[in-house]
């Protein structure tokens, strides 16, 4: 009746969200009085498994097969299905990575369960674990319980402070997955990055970032003026780049750039997690949004609840005065 945390690697390197999921697993295991176990899946992962063994876990499973060298949903699902059937954990915990998005729901379906995805917090009472997940891109929360075991949950980036190694090394159990080449239907090619970006937002001191609140491309000069008086780089949330209003390379977030300027202006940006992960490291965050409940205010140091079309020109004016 264990809690099993699935750690993620690519090309011999950890996805660091693995250790945030491990921290969540620690909490769940503690509440249930259950042993905490972990697993890593791949080929040639012995070194990683030994490293994971230094965390506060009862055991680590190193699930290996040559066909697992490069991630495929078929391979990972089959290998983990075997492990879960053999170990019968009560709760299986994943980091909510793009890879887990790709195979997690497939795996849980094999067990007739829905995955409780993108969990931000955990409540425990009387041996019952309740998971908190966001709705409407962070505008509402919900309390969710699993009906029946095994329970499958994935943990949102940044929701838990990563677990730290400590204590005695846990035993590593090697597990040979049973896989046939014919089981793997997708053929993955080598991952790649697009050509060098011409804008490096990570070097900017000040970033003025604009979201869908700007409404139309024709309104962009409103924020461009602010960027100009501040000597700031212009950036954007995904929809602005999806619409082609600004080039993709100015996108901040999980599929864009990660930035940590001295000041980040989030203007007409709601604050979805995929945007927040790209900018929460900024030293000072200023949010301007007409919705007082917008999740961006949770990340902001200074907030202005109001219409950006009134507020931003007024700020430009004040800065000009201050500089004069």
């Amino acid at each position: 009746m264990s809690v099993l945390v699935i750690l993620e690697e690519r090309g011999g390197k950890w996805n660091r969200l693995s250790f945030e999921a491990l921290a969540a697993g620690e909490r769940i295991a503690g509440a249930l009085g259950a042993p905490l176990q972990a697993a890593v899946i791949g080929a040639g992962i012995e070194k990683l498994a030994n490293e994971a063994a230094t965390y506060k876990i009862a055991k680590i499973f190193a699930v290996e097969h040559d066909l697992l060298a490069r991630y495929t949903p078929d391979g990972h699902t089959a290998a983990l299905e075997q492990l879960i059937k053999a170990q019968q954990p009560k709760v299986v915990v994943f980091p909510h990575t793009y890879q887990v998005r790709d195979f997690g729901p497939k795996l849980s379906t094999r067990f007739g369960k829905a995955l409780i995805s993108d969990v931000v917090d955990i409540k425990t009472a009387g041996g019952q674990v309740t998971f908190i997940r966001q709705l409407f891109q962070g505008k509402l929360n919900s309390d969710v319980r699993a009906a029946g075991e095994p329970e499958f949950v994935s943990i949102q980036a940044g929701a838990f402070r990563a677990a730290e190694p400590g204590g005695e090394a846990a035993p590593v159990e090697k597990v040979a997955a049973e896989l046939e080449p014919s089981q793997i239907r997708t053929k993955p090619e080598e991952p790649f990055r697009e050509a060098q970006r011409s804008v490096d937002l990570s070097a900017a001191d000040i970033i003025v970032s604009v979201g869908r609140g700007i409404k139309e491309k024709e309104n962009l000069p409103v924020v461009e003026q602010l960027a100009s008086v501040l000597g700031a780089e212009l950036a954007a949330s995904r929809p602005i780049c999806d619409n082609g209003w600004l080039p993709m390379e100015r996108q901040v977030g999980s599929s864009g750039q990660t930035v940590s300027p001295k000041v980040y202006f989030a203007i007409g940006i709601s604050g979805a997690i995929q945007h927040l992960v790209g900018m929460k490291g900024s030293k000072t965050i200023v949010a301007i949004n007409k919705d007082e409940n917008a999740p961006i205010f949770e990340a902001a140091d200074y907030g202005v609840v109001g219409d950006l079309f009134e507020i931003v020109p007024a700020i430009v004016e004040e800065i000009r005065k201050a500089k004069a």
Binding site: L135, F297, G306
Partner: protein, 256 residues
């Protein structure tokens, strides 16, 4: 190529979200609805594939009667026909239950490709397409940014984290979950809107499909999140707020 596109109707992005008195879902009384954003991109991709290769685009939507409006919008943009799985929602289903319903409706169609959005704007499970693939025994790929059919296979470009991408080849039939921004969206033309009125919408009741829609997860409560961070909210008219902010930038953040 026969393509099914799943399209969900969700509360419009700027709706005022109020929790209902039972605390289980929204008070839907003054909400307007729209097509889930990634689904609009999935539809666009499907329409462009059809324009290139010929075939048929079939819209698939599970939702109450009001979802008919979103279905018409998809038909007006160019989809050929639609399947509406009508349900009287008492709050939302979990992703497995929804996918089971959709799978039952899809199975007799035997499409070559199913396109879904990667995530719904309301529930945000990010799962329905992947589960659908598993239930139907199809291969799948998620967070797809490019689709290139190659005979009995399809090569897709997947988005990975931190600016990485990966091309993957998978055999048909397949499910692809489409990321926003894959193509530029079209608008419905007047002609399209007119034509949509004559296109076939097959309505199936959830009961008719005899899918197991029991929940394996239970949503106990929906609520406004409590804010924990001490954000300084600046108040006053635009000029006053601007003045305060510039002071802060000068003396606290020291960037001016």
């Amino acid at each position: 190529m026969k393509i099914i596109v799943s399209v969900k109707q969700v509360p419009a992005r700027d709706s005022a979200l109020r929790v209902n008195s039972a605390g289980k879902w929204l008070d839907e009384s003054d909400i307007t609805y729209e097509m889930n954003e990634p689904d609009a991109y999935a539809l666009e991709e499907a329409l462009q594939l059809k324009e290139k290769l010929g075939g048929e685009v079939v819209v698939l939507c599970a939702g109450p009667q009001r979802a008919g409006q979103t279905i018409r919008e998809a038909l007006a943009k160019g989809a050929d026909r639609a399947i509406h799985v009508e349900m009287d929602e008492e709050g939302p289903l979990d992703a497995l239950a929804t996918a089971r319903l959709l799978a039952k409706a899809v199975a007799p169609e035997s499409p070559e490709l199913i396109l879904t959005g990667l995530q719904s704007d309301d529930l945000g499970y990010g799962q329905t397409g992947v589960i659908l693939a598993e239930l139907l025994g199809y291969a799948h790929a998620t967070i797809v940014m490019e689709v290139e059919p190659q005979g009995s296979a399809v090569r897709v470009k997947r988005e990975l984290e931190d600016g990485w991408f990966q091309n993957v080849v998978l055999p048909l039939p397949a499910v692809l979950t489409i990321q926003s921004g894959i193509k530029k969206l079209r608008y419905a033309t007047l002609m399209g809107i007119k034509k949509a009125k004559t296109k076939e919408v097959k309505t199936l009741s959830a009961g008719q499909l005899a899918a197991d829609t029991s929940s394996t997860t239970v949503m106990d409560r929906v609520y406004l999140p409590q804010r924990s961070k001490q954000t300084q909210i600046l108040t006053g008219d635009a000029k006053q707020v601007a003045h305060q902010l510039v002071e802060k930038l000068k003396f606290e953040a020291r960037v001016l």
